[in-house]
Subunit: 674 residues, 2 copies
């Protein structure tokens, strides 16, 4: 916090005047404003992906009409400084400048901006204009000569010699036109650039941190399953070895992250029974989120899932299949968790010796109690222990964590924990499972969460989806928040899918896979499961409380379509991010039409989705010819990425027909006809 | 600038871990974001007006579901701290809070925000809900009792006694319902509030400065004249005494600022002749912007205007008429300015002993040279001298300065100069005469200019005016930039007025007076003068180079309408600012309809302007009944502020007809029918 006024010792009036005018004279002459990417004026790190260009933009201007120059100075994760020039972008009236660099390593980077008077550019500009206008330039040439003399005076070694030679040539030239040519010559400009004193050098008043992450932080396809359900008998607890057998099927659908709810021992006290009932039978497995029993806590593996070696084997085997295992980090305890006895000071005890059970209104978790991060005994031992839990799993080869309800744990805890873990291994990725208010959702991203659950699950109409996708593409979300579009979760059986039938599942799969770089599904989605607890967003007979074997080859499944969608994502870089999105006109409120493109336009995907799972919809739509600088009558080449068909569209307005029963969406790769 | 990474000495790994977790534990638990009013994260002071409420808003939230409390802590210009509570505003999902305070003094103020855990509010909320739901609350009551005991322990004196008494009463109550009532009682809440330890107290990480200004900084009506033209003979130079005779007429039109272009001696070298010609005749007065001759510079008065005593008399006399004199501060010199000889080091001399003349592309000022603020000799003597020039006129009673082309002088110079002058006398007002790029326009406001020239002069269509007025009402312009809508200036003879005839002058007068708190006109406007230099925005026979006597009673003048418009502004606080503006629907693209209102709705003005100076326009328009929470069929009382007529409108859709020849606008004060 800055000081309040008058808190500093006062100088005498005369001293104060002198100090203030000196401060003003030395103050930066150039304004550097509205720097992007940035979050809260450099308080948090903006997000970047390794080997992809970072576009740094700023509004840069000063008094008068002299020409400025600017550069972005960036530091990599080892503190090495690099520098890239910035250029003014169109239109010049906005005083907007851009510089680009591509970080080659993951981890914490950062940048600031420098701008200065480009004295020689201003001089060249005037000389060139006057010379071209036929105005006498004798005086300007003498000024140019003096610039050369000054350059000799302030340079050394080879540069000094080069300027001496240049000045010598200049003196021997007979005609003004030759002298003008020499001063405007590229070599002269280059020499002047090297000898530049950068007058009025100004630095942005903030150092902007940048967190560089691996591509999977933004492009990932998640498959969620309960390992204990990998069985064909609801009375036999599935194991890691059973999961091992499913790997080829999941890999074949195109997923690259396999995510498990907590794999730790499950508590017995207040264990939940089927459908969240408060009484569990002797064979009920309980919610895996009620972590901890006498068999261990967050660092332990549920004995019925297998051994630590089984887990290690599964991690390696998944890697062989091109997949990573993601674990759940849920900071909560069953009343049987060893920490309650070992560290009673980590909990808030009530007068009757009980601990308040957990709530995430309106949900109640009678089988779970929470730690108290700020109790005297918890500082810092609880914080360190939780960090060690995560580090322990990282050491087992787990590099992706889905964090349960992070918005109910302290914000400084996450900022510290993520920086600590990623400080040692910046390949680790954290997904925030927060469904809460917008400011908190973004803040978690700012604190370091690499991906986040979103409101996608509750956005269905054309207007809702357009507004939400647009918001994700704009600051501040653009710089600080990476969406992972989950189509369902064990906690969310979306109302839309409860009644939409198979077409609805195809619609949501298409929107999720095409809309965001990361998406996820919870098993059963591919079977179009949607039976609810009546009038709730909960699954009937929820797998959270039961072992649920499934026949993944059952008829009506959408594994083929999911496989195709994931393949299309892998083959088209434009689909590996939620950014670079634009909506286009289609004259039907049930059809959403949007484009995704890479910066260079080399990869341009057009997606049309019929949002109505019950009726066929058709409409006239606008081909975005202008995105390729094409006239309205230009032909455009299109490839249907689902069917592989090719054709050429002629004319800006085209029509489409999408019926929900077969395939309620279309995905085209478009390009100009060569 | 923050440090680049790794610049600090490194701790050992163990130390570093301990330091980091302790920092995290001590870090603010509550997020305080998006604070308004603010400019560039507290780098610049937002603008406020004395005795008017400042609405401080912030997004405030934390982990979990506990209830928070917040306050705005503000400092007045003498460093006294005050505190106002903040409340959450609707809808709660935005986590947006507001607190208000009204500064009672002009000068530099500032504020920061505090938020903390309101533990007792959280407790009361739970107790009350459970009690109302009929759930047993024995455990909660024991927790409440312990809160009382803790309060006894941490308080002293009378407060401690009060808690002891409260605890005693609590112990003696027989029934839980009575105990609940006691704990929820207002007196208990008040006591708990007084004993609050404010757990997790978090302060905004920035101190937000606020510049409190007098009302005239935002609400002023400017009349500009060349004193030398106050004559009936173009060969007789007008004087301050002549201006004195005009005061009643200008006062009667309702102006409260009388502004003169520079009143200093005019140079002779390269003096401009009529119509900006490069050769002046012996009797040509020259441009007053070519400041300085052997008779003196910026501190001197042109001898032909009168003596210093004449000027002092005029300042006093204007004040007696309710007007302030505004002077021009134009930092530039005629080649004859005494500074060229006294301080040659303040200028950049070319190899031939000349100084480059001034340009503001495409304009060329061959009769003017500029100082070099960063030349060795100029630091800090030039800066101090310029400050002394302004202070000298302040000492003569001039409290308003129109600053010529501030965007061509260094930004730090203005920030220092304005702070220096206003530090001694915060009633001084600076108007920035910058017509340049948007970022610079705003920056000058941020640096301290209290008012600014605008793009209004070039906004004519409904779409242009709607976009521009809206932009002025939104951040960042809302907090940092106060428009002064000049309808014309000696430099700008708007194309629109060159051909619109009298109706065009009425249209622009209505838009300027109703659109902004400050507006201005240059004399001749009331006579509908618009003869241009062909195809230029310049006046033919411009007064900048000639003495121009006028007959201000000439037929066709619009003095009556201007008088009425200024009267309406004085009588209606909603019109004393550009803020509080909203546009309403009228089904005609030539008619602009907008409302201006005070915060309380007590003053609500509806303005309709026919933007077409050639044709009558009519249209159906929408009465903004919803702004008064009225149903669509409610009656609304209207008063025509130009004619004084009253009536009642019935129904939401009304129609209007505006013909340009008589009065191309309508101004209604509206209110619900009582």
């Amino acid at each position: 916090m800055s000081s309040p006024p008058h808190s500093a010792p006062r100088a005498t009036p005369g001293q104060a005047q002198e100090i203030k005018v000196q401060a003003a004279v030395n103050a930066p002459r150039i304004a550097i404003e509205s720097v992007q990417p940035s979050l809260d004026h450099g308080r948090f790190a903006a997000k970047a992906i390794v080997d992809e260009p970072v576009h740094v933009r700023a509004t840069i201007f000063a008094d008068g009409h002299d020409i400025l120059a600017a550069a972005v100075c960036w530091y990599d994760d080892e503190g090495r400084q690099h520098r890239e020039p910035m250029c003014q972008i169109q239109p010049p009236g906005l005083d907007r400048w851009e510089g680009r660099f591509s970080p080659r390593r993951v981890g914490r980077h950062g940048f600031f901006i420098e701008a200065w008077w480009d004295t020689y550019a201003t001089y060249r500009d005037e000389l060139s204009k006057k010379h071209q206008a036929g105005v006498p330039v004798g005086l300007e040439l003498e000024e140019g000569r003096r610039l050369l003399v000054q350059a000799i005076e302030r340079s050394e070694g080879a540069l000094k010699d080069a300027f001496k030679a240049l000045h010598g040539r200049f003196q021997w030239l007979d005609h003004d036109a030759e002298r003008v040519a020499l001063l405007l010559d590229g070599d002269t400009v280059q020499l002047m650039h090297e000898a530049n004193t950068r007058p009025h050098l100004t630095r942005s008043d903030v150092f902007y941190p940048l967190e560089v992450e691996r591509l999977k932080a933004r492009f990932s396809s998640w498959y969620e399953l309960f390992p204990r359900s990998e069985t064909d008998d609801p009375h036999r607890h599935g194991t890691f070895k059973d999961v091992h057998k499913r790997l080829p099927m999941i890999r074949d659908m195109g997923f690259d992250v396999l995510y498990f709810p907590p794999i730790h021992p499950v508590g017995h006290t207040h264990r939940k029974g089927p459908n969240n009932s408060l009484e569990a039978g002797p064979d009920d497995p309980g919610s895996p989120y009620a972590i901890g029993s006498k068999e261990g806590g967050h660092e332990a593996i549920h004995p019925q899932l297998g051994t630590r070696d089984d887990f290690r084997h599964l991690v390696r085997s998944a890697a062989d299949h091109g997949m990573e295992i993601a674990l759940d980090f849920a900071i909560q305890c069953s009343p049987d968790h060893p920490w309650l006895k070992e560290h009673p000071g980590w909990f808030s005890w009530r007068p009757d010796g009980s601990i308040r059970y957990a709530e995430n209104p309106p949900k109640k978790y009678q089988d779970i109690v929470n730690v108290d991060f700020y109790s005297e005994d918890a500082i810092p031992s609880l914080w360190m222990t939780l960090r060690d839990v995560v580090q322990g799993w990282v050491d087992e080869g787990v590099k992706i964590f889905r964090v349960d309800n992070p918005h109910t744990k302290p914000l400084p805890f996450w900022e510290w924990l993520i920086a600590d873990i990623r400080g040692r291994d910046p390949s680790v990725i954290f997904l925030a499972e927060a469904f809460t208010r917008p400011a908190m959702m973004l803040r978690l991203g700012k604190l370091g969460f690499n991906q986040s659950y979103t409101y996608f699950t509750w956005r269905h109409t054309k207007a809702e989806l357009t507004a939400y996708f647009t918001q994700l593409n704009e600051p501040p979300l653009r710089d600080g928040y990476r969406p992972n579009f989950f189509v369902n979760t064990p906690d969310i059986n979306p109302y839309f899918l409860q009644s939409s039938g198979r077409p609805g599942f195809l619609i949501r799969a298409a929107l999720a896979t095409m809309g965001a770089g990361s998406w996820g599904m919870y098993s059963g989605f591919e079977l179009c499961e949607g039976a609810p607890v009546p009038s709730k967003e909960e699954y009937l007979d929820s797998e959270k409380y039961e072992i649920r074997p499934r026949d993944y080859t059952a008829s009506g499944n959408i594994r083929y379509e999911i496989t195709q969608l994931n393949r299309i994502r892998r083959e088209n870089p434009a689909l590996q991010t939620h950014l670079g999105l634009a909506f286009y006109t289609v004259h039907n409120d049930h059809i959403l039409l949007f484009g995704k493109r890479t910066e260079t336009q080399h990869n341009f995907i057009l997606v049309a989705v019929n949002l109505d799972p019950f009726e066929a919809q058709e409409g006239v739509f606008e081909l975005p010819l202008w995105e390729f600088d094409l006239p309205e009558d230009a032909p455009l080449h299109a490839e249907d990425l689902m069917s592989g068909q090719h054709w050429t569209w002629h004319g800006k307005w085209q029509s489409l027909h999408l019926e929900p029963w077969h395939q309620p969406f279309a995905i085209w790769r478009i390009r100009p006809v060569h």
